[in-house]
Point group: D2
Chain length 479, copies 4
Amino acid sequence: MPTEVRSLNEECGIFGVWGHSEASHVTYFGLHNLQHRGQEGAGIVSNEEGYLRGYRGLGLLSEVFADEKKINKLKGNAAIGHVRYATSGNGHVDNIQPFLFRFFDGQVGLAHNGNLTNAKTLRRELEENGAIFHSNSDTEILMHLIRKNQAPTFLESLKASLKQVHGGFAYILMTEDALYGALDPNGFRPLSIGLMKNGAYVIASETCALEAIGAAFVRDVQPGEVVMINDEGLKVDTFTTETQHAICSMEYIYFARPDSNIAGVNVHTARKNMGRRLAKEAAIEADMVIGVPNSSLSAASGYAEYSGIPYELGLVKNQYVARTFIQPTQELREQGVRMKLSAVRGVVEGKKVILVDDSIVRGTTSKRIVQLLKEAGAKEVHLRIASPPLKYPCFYGIDIQTRKELIAADLSIEEMRERIGADSLAFLSEEGLIDAIGLKFDAPYTGLCMAYFNGDFPTPLYDYEANYQASLLDKKSRF
Amino acid sequence: MPTEVRSLNEECGIFGVWGHSEASHVTYFGLHNLQHRGQEGAGIVSNEEGYLRGYRGLGLLSEVFADEKKINKLKGNAAIGHVRYATSGNGHVDNIQPFLFRFFDGQVGLAHNGNLTNAKTLRRELEENGAIFHSNSDTEILMHLIRKNQAPTFLESLKASLKQVHGGFAYILMTEDALYGALDPNGFRPLSIGLMKNGAYVIASETCALEAIGAAFVRDVQPGEVVMINDEGLKVDTFTTETQHAICSMEYIYFARPDSNIAGVNVHTARKNMGRRLAKEAAIEADMVIGVPNSSLSAASGYAEYSGIPYELGLVKNQYVARTFIQPTQELREQGVRMKLSAVRGVVEGKKVILVDDSIVRGTTSKRIVQLLKEAGAKEVHLRIASPPLKYPCFYGIDIQTRKELIAADLSIEEMRERIGADSLAFLSEEGLIDAIGLKFDAPYTGLCMAYFNGDFPTPLYDYEANYQASLLDKKSRF
Amino acid sequence: MPTEVRSLNEECGIFGVWGHSEASHVTYFGLHNLQHRGQEGAGIVSNEEGYLRGYRGLGLLSEVFADEKKINKLKGNAAIGHVRYATSGNGHVDNIQPFLFRFFDGQVGLAHNGNLTNAKTLRRELEENGAIFHSNSDTEILMHLIRKNQAPTFLESLKASLKQVHGGFAYILMTEDALYGALDPNGFRPLSIGLMKNGAYVIASETCALEAIGAAFVRDVQPGEVVMINDEGLKVDTFTTETQHAICSMEYIYFARPDSNIAGVNVHTARKNMGRRLAKEAAIEADMVIGVPNSSLSAASGYAEYSGIPYELGLVKNQYVARTFIQPTQELREQGVRMKLSAVRGVVEGKKVILVDDSIVRGTTSKRIVQLLKEAGAKEVHLRIASPPLKYPCFYGIDIQTRKELIAADLSIEEMRERIGADSLAFLSEEGLIDAIGLKFDAPYTGLCMAYFNGDFPTPLYDYEANYQASLLDKKSRF
Amino acid sequence: MPTEVRSLNEECGIFGVWGHSEASHVTYFGLHNLQHRGQEGAGIVSNEEGYLRGYRGLGLLSEVFADEKKINKLKGNAAIGHVRYATSGNGHVDNIQPFLFRFFDGQVGLAHNGNLTNAKTLRRELEENGAIFHSNSDTEILMHLIRKNQAPTFLESLKASLKQVHGGFAYILMTEDALYGALDPNGFRPLSIGLMKNGAYVIASETCALEAIGAAFVRDVQPGEVVMINDEGLKVDTFTTETQHAICSMEYIYFARPDSNIAGVNVHTARKNMGRRLAKEAAIEADMVIGVPNSSLSAASGYAEYSGIPYELGLVKNQYVARTFIQPTQELREQGVRMKLSAVRGVVEGKKVILVDDSIVRGTTSKRIVQLLKEAGAKEVHLRIASPPLKYPCFYGIDIQTRKELIAADLSIEEMRERIGADSLAFLSEEGLIDAIGLKFDAPYTGLCMAYFNGDFPTPLYDYEANYQASLLDKKSRF
């Protein structure tokens, strides 16, 4: 689960339910378990006998709906919801989803997780034909396409439109009479269907949201599929058959909650396996293994278990958030003031420590943690990363679109080690990662997207191609 | 560290610094690492060349000082601060500390952690002599006593007053020209002194607050001591020599942060040792050991290590707080909606699980967690508690003053197991606890207060004696 | 100026400035003097060297921009602003203006005062061609038309679009390089141009906003005109020559601030003349004349002056707003609790009073005020209304679109008097009103819209025609 | 009624009710009509069958009780309330009243309007005897005295204590079983008793608060009186017979609401008489009379009526408050931006204007208004002040304790005229003021305190004597 010291961010979490008398509360509980996928904004649109109504705001779910009246007004038997991550520049409520559109002939609620690679081209074409956009988000594009692709049924219009958008996307839509879920042809993002005890169907970004509401897992939405849920039940359709699994490997490594299953693989178990494999690939003698809380604890325990070296609590994370505006001054920083993570002197003092982290983005956090441990008296700190070096950007829904921010983009492992100040540094191999997750799809890398590590993008990059080629020439920035 | 599902609450955390140009910010960072000791209110009083100024409010530290201007106004080279826990009935800003008193001949800031056993008697005597109290808190009493005990120096007045109050107390006071810390004759609550790199002295409830600001540990304040810090440095004095260590064992078990040291013993290490000893005392075969996040992870890893049974992440805690007002309705509850903890189906399904928790108060949380695990498919759940059964109230600063709330007060272990629904249940022995912590004081229980477990209170109970005797007749409430 | 007890509401106030280094602050001050035209929401869009940026929110201007940072971010040399009134059902921030549109080839800010009579038809036509609307407001329509009416210049597109919308409208628009103002062919709403001392041009709904910023009055925007202001100065153009003045008479009677001039006529002077004429048309002997604060004080002083009867302060308005949720209970109401207006017993007791009000909508306020005066001991209360009876709805920007709410719609003057409980009741004649205002346009009613009083609408009603015909059959509701 | 541009401030308004099932709501409505006496803070203490409960906060009454739950919790059949003005330095919630004291043997609520002249001495004496104060306010002193003056009944303790405090004071107190009101021996501040229709007694600072709740006026509290109201009714007692009326003349001139009666004299009528007398004393030919809104409208209409010169609306006050932090920059100020008052160009242009104001404190406001009128084209502005020059400070409850702020303290009328920029300037004479108010008490100045104008303080100044003597040597500050 993301910590705030990280510079890697998921785009969103989405949720929908059809057939529950407290649909907006069910959606709240579902979104609550997806909050790790986005903390910048949240919203819910409900459907009360064909009338759609929404509320959305900036901040955490609990802040947006702090006034209970907000959610109580969202009456109805169906609802969809969204939690959003976004870079600060876009921090405007106009971009918070779900979007709610009202037409003279119908209403549509729309929530999106992912990133379109041909958004800029589509938007320009639409604007040239008179379309007006109200947000910076790619998400409106699908709605414009649906209105242009007039067809006898909403489902037909939707399928025609899904063929026009490219990249990574998981959509949930709601009309007056049905709920829809759709996944891109590579299935970059997870999307699962569940069934509540009262017969209501739900769709959610991760299975942990199904657990939150006591729903049984039914099936994953498959690449290229569009599912329709209405009072008659669940119907599965496809908008394209040209599909190939390329599940984002970072979901397993870092984004998803450890209690979720993706494509049938439990995330905690995958992480523990990464740790075990890492212990095999990059063994070293030490007094203890410690993990960076909270995202690396599974991998660290796997490393400890395989190596037989004791697992210790050498780092404590403050569970309370300090407002970021209260930054230590330079003077305080030099005196070692810190707020988020603390090293446990009583545990690490005088010890040789193996520090397990899930990944390295810029390297600044790793450097700080190594320093913390050394200041607390650790004799040696051996950094072990439970994934391969991140060298390439992502255009399918992860918020790093340039190589500049990636320390591994143009430094050798020894250069990185030196910058970070660790006594040794090792990464999990690509094969190790693939084996640890253990997917079995008949696809490259057994169904994983490994582009972050090797630049092998499973689709054309369209509007991003030029940017990407330029970024290959970037020099790594200093830190 | 306390989780919200727990019904056991610490009273407070206190902090003070003398000799730093950003004293109120240093105090903020120190308090931030003490936030686990109290979340209901927070405040800071600063000292700008002899003029004291304060701000306090309800809520978390980050909420009270959400507006940065609040803290920027608290200028000066010295400051004291407080984080408070309190029962809802007292949730009024008048009770939030530090208190700031202005007299024609001086100013005093005052912060308190603990509970006085003769407060009611003292307050009545003072009121009968014309005193006016403005809060419900015991804390004002010391100020009234100091003003009554006129002596040539503030230190003399303070020492005379400290002799009149009984029970558990750690005080930090600040006048125009000095900072004071004082600890009751039993040392129920921890209180430590640190030294910053620039030469500023700090006093704090726990050593983790020293780490937060890069201060080196100097020494613990000892029972019966009063320390004075001013521009000339640190001076240690005593107000009584009739002392005997009785450190609250719940600090080690549950309250303190794992990265703190109390009386030289690291809390995480003590907990891990409790887990190891528990594994020895109450062994059982199983597929995995899991701990209740976050407070029981140390004990659980100790259990796993000693027993050789793999430690797994079988429970996930949602790091985001859901507003409590959004309670699942009865219907949703029956459908299994839950918000705080989730069981990891992919890990526990079909498995025999050892569940380690640090303590049991009412038993309702334990029951809920066992149920979660079973619903997620666990075949058996064996509950192991890393402390002895809680049978008696506390009058020294912990918020349980009646036996009614304690499930162990009048149920046998088998009765408890049945209520909780576990397949087996075992507690750590008193001897096991004492050994695991490993204090070496020449005092009963090697310096621990074990009253919670055996009713052996180290002091007379004064105003509480009658209540306590009545509580011994209480019948355990149902849950 | 509107009081809260009134049920008659203006739609909006608009403002724009081009060429001032603190354009958003100038707009704030201008809007502040237009706040009486709308209290539900406010917003400002600024232009910093071609980049448009906006902020808007629900509530009074001072609430929306309570955080000074909000306005400080709106940098640039040009800005437009809006204050909005709206019925509660539409109280959503999506409807607050100015709207800000970003296209691949440009940006547009848009603010609107008025009501379109063919909005529904236009919106449906646009949606059938794929347009997506994001608000309930009519205002977006103009933007869609501009995008459809592609022409070599923005001004040409705008003029073509202005020909397609019907009803009452005053628009202010801003692009990267110019500010535009436009007025409907009848000039229902006021719109004036001013010049600041530094050479910056401003456009505002009322001249009192020019006074607020020290701008000299230049000219009114005329019916059918569109003005363009850019770095080269002011340029006046017309989109239609089929124009005829029909200035809303309610602007003079009630809406506008007394210090504004509309079409060269000072509003206070017009109101005083209405009072003088009313004194002539409906004389009666009495001890004093009192006006309903604050909107009727001008008319009341005119009545007093003409009649020679002393003008007294018989009613006091509480300048502080009591939250409306704290409603007196039935018991308190019966005991006479009141919060907004107080009768001055020391002035009116035992006296024969002439009460002057500007208009009567539902009659409930009049009834309450007459009762207040009688309870305070007034011997007789003679109600004099400084305008003719309101009998017809308005479709050009005033928020009464049905006759149901109008007491005069189907009651005789004697029936109204009886309901209100006054000792006598008289209204100003239509001729009296026209003479008192004293416009000189070569148009029916010398350039005034008198439809409220006589149903003589100066334009076709388009989408409202059916509603209006139905409303003629309405029976007056009881109160 | 005070406007914000004024530098003269009343200290407080107080209210109490006994015997009404919605006592706290009645108090809210009463305080609402006293809001002009203090805008910095507000509070209510209620009495539910002997249990006192309070809530108070910073800001307007409607802000403090914006959350309706706050007032709904204040249950009971009796309540007291307070609205407070205070200088910014004291703007802390600890100083907001009513104060609520809880003792082992009783509870007391206390609200105060006025200023004690021996507060400093009393406070020091009390502190030397161990008393602890929690606010900066003088108000706590009475409570300490009551606790020291132990007597068989609360009434006896209260009377003994009232003899020890000197200066100007109106107190309302509430114990478990009675409501008390008390007034200083000179009756500087107004305090009146009313009777509600249901038999409940109320006490209030001004009679306009009685009108607000439909209470009939019973009698004024007289100097030296203490009244007790309990379930048996109203009982009048005296704590001293050494009394002499010296009602604050500024209450009539400026502070009180025009609809209040003080000592049987209606405030509006008194002001109108001041205007009439001023017209007689300082006649001049002109085109119109205008008053400074809102406080001078009564005096201006009196001037107009006596002189026969038309009364016009030449100044308009913006009824909406602009946040003061949004100050025009220097550049904007020079361009004439203004926010609070506007001159009506259409009325004053080219005219000779008589401007009536109630008083002059610093003169800065007068200067600004004269300038506004001239910029709007007024040919001449003749300033007429409906009270004598303010030359001396006040120690009985008005917030000017130094002569430095008073323009009239050491400037001649001609010097003032020149600074202000008026074409002529005249003040009402002291005799004129006394006659216009028309009290009939057998006391100096017929019962008025005229110290502001002539330095004739009706009591010794005690702790203020030295300050006052020093202030006589002050030179007038520049503006």
